[in-house]
């Protein structure tokens, strides 16, 4: 296995080329690479580089999203190999995220999910119009550290509170941190409904979730 292939894999992630990333991940495995080592010494640093370029203004959101897709494509190949060797990738934490019931707005929530993944979190994106029970069930199932609740409408934002209440009733509230976001939400609203944090945008969300899992 050549250094060259590993460099190309890193490059494919940074350039946001999922097809090439999948292809190269297969090649380095076939050449006998250790999948965990590939994840930790190639893919994670590549995503760090993507994050750095975004912070510095060279990269934009589509660059970030496509790099995330390339990372996923590579992991689709490396993941089963990790499992086969009883290895597991280390994450900064596990996040369950979704847009609350009655609300079908996806974009902001998906952006946060992508940026969290890029930052090294394991993210379970439940999609939109998510009933409280699903937040609770998934939180329990995956042992989430953080639950992210999105709402775009003033009419649906109170369902953020409903989910927090449901987590409390299920006895999970003390074990997870809750972060909320979306156009009508605010730090005051977060406090009022008993959330742990609010983030104004996807970048801030990553910072806040990093802080939450350290607490």
């Amino acid at each position: 296995m050549g250094e060259e292939q590993l460099r190309s894999l890193s490059e494919a992630v940074i350039q946001g080329d999922p097809d090439r990333a999948r292809d190269l991940a297969g090649k380095v495995l076939a050449a006998g690479a250790d999948p965990l080592e590939v994840v930790e010494t190639v893919l994670s640093p590549a995503m760090d580089e993507v994050g750095r370029r975004y912070e510095e203004g060279d990269y934009f959101i589509p660059d970030l999203v496509m790099a995330g897709e390339a990372m996923k494509a590579a992991m689709a190949v490396l993941g089963p190999a990790l499992t086969a060797r009883h290895q597991s990738r280390s994450y900064l934490g596990t996040v369950v995220i979704g847009t609350v019931q009655g609300d079908i707005h996806e974009i902001g929530k998906s952006l946060v999910a992508t940026m969290l993944e890029a930052a090294g979190f394991q993210v379970h994106d439940l999609g939109v119009d998510v009933p409280p029970e699903r937040f609770v069930a998934t939180t329990k199932e995956v042992g989430a550290d953080v639950v992210g609740l999105s709402a775009l409408l003033t009419t649906t934002m109170r369902n953020q509170e409903v989910v927090i209440e449901a987590l409390r009733e299920a006895g999970l509230r003390d074990r997870v941190k809750v972060i909320i976001g979306g156009a009508p939400a605010s730090p005051e609203w977060a406090e009022r409904i008993g959330a742990d944090a609010y983030a104004e945008n996807a970048r801030e969300a990553v910072e806040v979730v990093r802080r939450l899992v350290r607490q």
């Binding site: 934009f60 959101i61 589509p62 079908i104 974009i107 003033t154 156009a183 945008n201």
Partner: protein, 486 residues
């Protein structure tokens, strides 16, 4: 001649419409209303009730376009036609619906309450530049369940101008219709001379939520004008190419027209929208971006090609305070919208991605609107010959002020701004306190509010408005309506 702006050639407009019609057949639209799906199915659309997808064939689109009216009027409280939706007529109304308000001099916004709404509506009613008013603020001091209808109640108490509004739920639309019917003296009279238009917003891409779809059909049934507000976000919930966003806008809007016209052929409907560019650095939807304005003007051109009345959200800014960005973004948008001949331009007063309202900005924007309207009135030839006589008469002495020609024409030739626009000598400006536009606007806000006489409603109409609103409030758990300021 009237100056105009066009972004698309005829062939491109045809191509946009053709692709939009194709999209309605494949992949079709997702419709979260069984009533609408059944209606579409009955008229030849291929409906998947399980997946809630309707594939609409081209002939159905053509049929709907054939019955949609090319123009209609909105009426004021006195039954006078005040707004003409049609042709290249241009009107402005304040943007909506803000969940924040920015006080004069503040850097932080806050949630608006009833007293703010009353100040807003009295101001909007006072400003001649506003041809209609909107239900611009969402009041935080009433339950969310009645937030939509409560705004309309306040508007109807204070304003005589036509209203641009919208409902947040299926049931509240009917309460809002009742409020309008009370002031119009009956549902028939309201249908004859509508005083309001309801915004209905499909969700990009190609989706109708239950609320908006039911609102759309209810508008048709009662023949209260509906304004389609399709809002692809270019690069996020729609194609990043400006023309691609226009195609998606057309597909979503055409699907709305089909549902609407199948419900009630001939009911009035507007080709409106609120698309936006997508900021690739911050993930926001800048309403003051030049690309947002270009998409607006281009879709309006498509609407005109289809013979439909048009609307757009323009004249807004993403600035957080009343500053230079606030002025230039609002100015560019209002001017482009006017040049594009958009019938109703919603936006004045609005900051921060369509979320925050400023009374001072509304007053500044009224000046922009005055200039935009002057612009599209164009350069006229007042006399024949144009100026031979007056220039010869004045001769080399050069004082046109002393010739009657000047006094005869200056009021028609010039838009005369209020003192919000500073055109004074520097010394005078300093003598008056060296005030910037925000401060001058604030003074005008206070002066206009002090002078405004609210609408006087007949006692029986007033009490009926109150009791309808109170009933809704009580159902939402609020015993009494908030007191109104004097």
């Amino acid at each position: 001649m009237r100056p105009t702006i066009r972004f698309l050639d005829a062939e491109t407009v045809e191509q946009v419409v053709a692709e939009a019609v194709d999209l309605l057949a494949n992949p079709g639209v997702r419709v979260h209303s069984d009533r609408a799906l059944a209606l579409l199915g009955d008229h030849g659309a291929q409906v998947d009730m399980e997946g809630r997808i309707a594939r609409i064939p081209a002939p159905l689109v053509e049929k709907a376009l054939a019955t949609a009216p090319h123009s209609f009027h909105l009426y004021d409280a006195d039954g006078r036609p005040a707004v003409h939706y049609g042709g290249d007529d241009v009107h402005f109304d304040p943007g909506s619906a803000a969940i924040e308000i920015l006080d004069y001099g503040a850097t932080a916004s806050r949630a608006p309450v009833t007293a703010d709404f009353v100040r807003y509506i009295r101001l909007a009613e006072s400003l001649e530049a506003m041809d209609a008013v909107s239900t611009a603020l969402v009041c935080a001091d009433v339950p969310e369940e009645i937030a939509d209808l409560y705004r309309l109640y306040l508007v109807l108490r204070y304003a005589r101008k036509p209203v641009v509004t919208g409902a947040f739920a299926v049931e509240t639309w009917h309460v809002m219709k009742d409020l309008l019917a009370v002031t119009a003296r009956g549902e028939e009279a309201l249908a004859e001379r509508p005083t309001a238009v309801f915004d209905v917003c499909p969700s990009p891409p190609l989706l109708w939520s239950e609320i908006t779809c039911e609102n759309l059909m209810d508008c048709a049934r009662y023949r209260i004008p509906a304004e389609l507000v399709s809002m692809p976000l270019a690069g996020a919930t729609g194609p990043v190419t400006l023309l691609g966003a226009v195609v998606q806008h057309a597909a979503e809007s055409l699907s709305g027209i089909v549902i609407h016209q199948l419900t009630e052929p001939g009911a009035p409907i507007v080709w409106g929208g609120s698309p936006a560019a997508f900021d690739m650095r911050t993930g926001t939807t800048p309403m003051g971006a030049i690309e947002t304005m270009m998409i607006d003007c281009a879709y309006a051109q498509v609407g005109k090609h289809l013979g439909l009345p048009t609307h757009a959200y323009l004249g807004m800014s993403d600035a957080k305070v009343v500053d230079a960005q606030c002025g230039f973004e609002s100015g560019i948008g209002a001017v482009l919208g006017a040049l594009a001949g958009i019938n109703m331009i919603s936006g004045p007063g609005m900051l921060d991605f369509e979320s925050c309202f400023s009374l001072e900005k509304l007053v500044i924007d009224a000046e922009i609107v005055g200039m935009a309207k002057r612009l599209v009135a164009g350069i006229a030839q007042r006399e024949t010959p144009i100026a031979l006589e007056v220039i010869r008469a004045v001769g080399h002495a050069g004082n046109f002020l002393a010739h009657p020609h000047t006094r005869r024409w200056f009021r028609e030739e010039q838009f005369i701004p209020s003192e919000v626009v500073d055109r004074d000598f520097r010394r005078n400006w300093e003598a008056k306190g060296s005030k910037d536009a925000w401060t001058r606007a604030h003074e005008r806000v206070e002066a206009l509010l002090a002078a405004h006489q609210p609408r006087e409603l007949p006692p029986e109409v007033l009490s009926e408005l109150e009791s309808i609103t109170l009933r809704a409030a009580q159902a939402a758990g609020m015993d009494r309506l908030p007191p109104l300021p004097n």
